[in-house]
């Protein structure tokens, strides 16, 4: 119980963690160092992390001015928020029903969910693209958001977590007069915060970074998402100028890291099922 004492086990634990973190972070060290290098500085035979010509200002200025970063970030936020909002609103009730209610279609739905998990967007992109074109909704937030409003990943994730919530809690809620939606909102969601936070992180990260689908449905810069912007940027401005590219990458990754830092607190204040005895 004396977690703060410095024991051998703790020393081992800390060294493993630090060593691992160093390895995991190594690419970022390179990234940050590169973001400060001029193009001719980047590929050199000496293993120098400190840029020879200090070019942070130029590279970041390039990244911030050549593409409309505010527009990109706004689009990214809007698209991710819309997607996440729809995903949780749609996946949570479905997962709740599958986890806690008895009905015959549940088995079939499980199969469909598994199937959905397996289908890569690459496989369905073409039919969806054609359909969206026919509906004349390409180049819109709708096109960016619609196919992801259903997250089978989310359904599966929530399903697994909801199944761990004691039935008695749901029973008590029913007796207290909650509708099934009320139970979801007032009992399930507050007790599944860690799972929802995890999902939020994944959803936001995935769609913030998604390149494949925006590339297909967006040809109008007004709807470009950050990675698409990065791609144009790389294509248009940076070419093989990795310094500017890394600077741009840092700019669009930082919001995600900040969001993660905020969200991960949810894991600390985890819910423990202490309301029950037995």
């Amino acid at each position: 119980m004396n977690a703060s004492a410095f024991t051998l086990a703790r020393a081992v634990r800390l060294s493993i963690l630090i060593f691992g973190a160093a390895i995991f972070l190594a690419p970022y060290v390179f990234m940050i160092s590169t973001a400060g290098k001029a193009q001719s500085d980047i590929f050199s035979s000496s293993l120098s992390l400190i840029p020879q010509h200090w070019s942070y200002i130029q590279n970041f200025a390039k990244a911030l001015t050549r593409v409309s970063m505010t527009r990109l970030l706004f689009n990214g936020v809007a698209v991710c928020a819309l997607i996440f909002g729809f995903q949780v609103m749609i996946a949570i009730p479905c997962a709740y029903a599958m986890a806690k209610l008895k009905f015959r279609a549940a088995k079939l739905m499980m199969v469909l969910v598994m199937l959905g998990l397996l289908v890569p967007i690459h496989a369905t992109a073409l039919p969806l693209y054609v359909a969206f074109d026919r509906m004349a909704v390409l180049n819109s937030y709708f096109a960016l958001v619609a196919p992801f409003t259903i997250s089978v990943f989310g359904i599966f994730l929530f399903l697994q977590f909801f199944r761990a919530i004691p039935d008695d809690l749901i029973h008590a809620a029913r007796l207290d007069g909650m509708s099934e939606l009320g139970i979801i909102g007032r009992v399930i969601v507050p007790n599944a915060w860690p799972a929802i936070t995890a999902f939020a992180i994944f959803s936001v990260v995935a769609h913030w970074n998604d390149l494949y689908w925006p590339l297909i449905v967006v040809s109008n810069q007004a709807y470009a998402t950050p990675p698409l912007g990065l791609l144009y940027f790389r294509a248009a401005e940076a070419g093989d100028d990795y310094g500017a590219l890394m600077a741009a990458t840092l700019i669009i990754t930082t919001p995600l890291v900040a969001a993660f830092l905020l969200a991960q607190k949810r894991f600390v204040e985890g819910i423990t099922m202490t309301g029950l005895k037995g």
Binding site: S40, I42, S44, S45, Y232, G239, D240, D241
Partner: protein, 398 residues
């Protein structure tokens, strides 16, 4: 007023170029507005985009297509035939479009586009390493034997330095450089039999094999090779002249960069493949086609070329541009690195485009067999024979 949507690939090379050209074009043609679709990263992705968008409202009015992929686009009947426009124009030569140059963008006699940027393979070398290895940087090697010998010496410098980087990955273009340089052909005249497996082909792959065995050519991915060269860790590099501007930027002042002609296995009969792309009109409506033609002509014309060449390293696709001091006449004097590509223009023949629907697969099969040679998993002969039989299987049967 007409608005044209223009799509182009490889914006890293072309973004600035396109912006400059379109700005100038719109100044000269105030009734036409150019609007760019999102550029695609590579030729292949560009084609994908066009194929997907074919027939939809999203389809651009003009696009730029890799010269060896024109055939594929034509087979799907996407490009507008430019013959009527050329006929109306009268003498194209006046505008700098020689027949040779027009031919680069013809498929089976049909004029599907106008060559916009053209390239050929050249030799880049690190003069510092050459000097260190005891060579004379002012007298670059002229034959493959010399290249290989020099490569071996450079490799011998040690300290992680490699002799040669040869960009064999990705497509069959650099293989063509060896093959055509030996006077070889890809397919027979009937396009039904494989011709590259003959003696010329064998000499080509043997040359590659010798580069690996003796010249210090390591197994590199395309980017790795380039990066190593930028870093000053490779003596000699063979790749398109189109990458020249980027190479200059990436090398900076790390070492003394030079360029030279690529050796030919057969200096007499030897030819070189033409890289690059052509502007293709896709617009279906007559009014737009008219405007598109104007733009295509302008972009591929002398003004366009005078923007493309310095900005990238491509060779001029327009004779007027190359010679006239109004355009590039003085440029080459001031920029000797760009001369290597220019000086090889007379050897340029079309980049061979394979018939049938398996065109891309064919090039892939060739590259894969080349990789066996580079990795020394197969003898040159064996790899060549395998490539031949695989390619044969991929050619249209009828």
């Amino acid at each position: 007023e007409t608005t044209l949507t223009v799509h182009y690939p490889m914006p890293g090379f072309f973004k600035d170029v396109m912006d400059t050209i379109s700005k100038k074009f719109m100044e000269e043609n105030p009734d036409i507005k150019i609007q760019f679709a999102n550029p695609s990263a590579t030729y292949e992705e560009g084609i994908q985009l066009i194929m997907r968008q074919a027939g939809t409202a999203e389809m651009p009015d003009l696009t730029f297509i890799g010269l060896n992929r024109l055939r594929m686009v034509q087979e799907r009947d996407l490009p507008v035939d430019l013959a009527p426009f050329i006929a109306k124009e009268g003498d194209m030569g006046k505008l700098g479009f020689s027949d040779n140059i027009l031919k680069l963008a013809q498929v089976k006699g049909k004029q599907v586009g106008l060559a916009f940027a053209t390239s050929n393979p050249i030799m880049y070398y690190n003069a510092d390493l050459v000097k260190a290895a005891g060579g004379n940087p002012d007298v670059p090697p002229k034959t493959w034997d010399e290249v290989i010998a020099l490569g071996a010496k450079i490799k011998a410098l040690g300290n992680g330095v490699e002799g040669i980087d040869f960009r064999w990955q990705g497509d069959d273009w650099m293989f063509s450089a060896l093959l055509f340089g030996a006077g070889g052909q890809m397919l027979g005249a009937d396009e039904k039999s494989v011709a590259f497996a003959g003696p010329e082909g064998l000499r080509a792959v043997e040359t590659l094999d010798r580069m690996v065995k003796q010249g210090g050519l390591p197994v590199f991915t395309a980017q790795a090779g380039e990066q190593a060269f930028f870093a000053g860790k490779v003596g000699i590099e063979f790749k398109t002249t189109g990458g020249l501007r980027n190479t200059i930027k990436s090398v900076g002042d790390k070492f003394d960069l030079r360029t030279a002609q690529i050796p030919l296995i057969d200096p007499v009969k030897g030819k070189l493949p033409t890289g690059g792309n052509a502007v293709v009109i896709l617009a279906r409506n007559a009014e737009k086609q008219q405007a598109a033609w104007k733009f295509a002509k302008f972009a591929a014309g002398p003004y366009g070329a005078s923007v493309v060449v310095p900005g990238t390293g491509y060779v001029p696709n327009n004779e007027l541009a190359a010679k006239s001091p109004d355009y590039l006449g003085n440029f080459y004097k001031a920029n000797p690195l760009f001369v290597a590509g220019l000086s090889q223009m007379d050897r340029m023949v079309p980049w061979y485009a394979f018939p049938g629907t398996n065109g891309v697969k064919v090039t892939q099969a060739i590259v894969e067999n080349l990789s066996r040679i580079v990795e020394q998993q197969a003898t040159p002969r064996q790899a060549l024979e395998d490539a031949a039989s695989e390619v044969k299987g991929l050619l249209p049967r009828s």
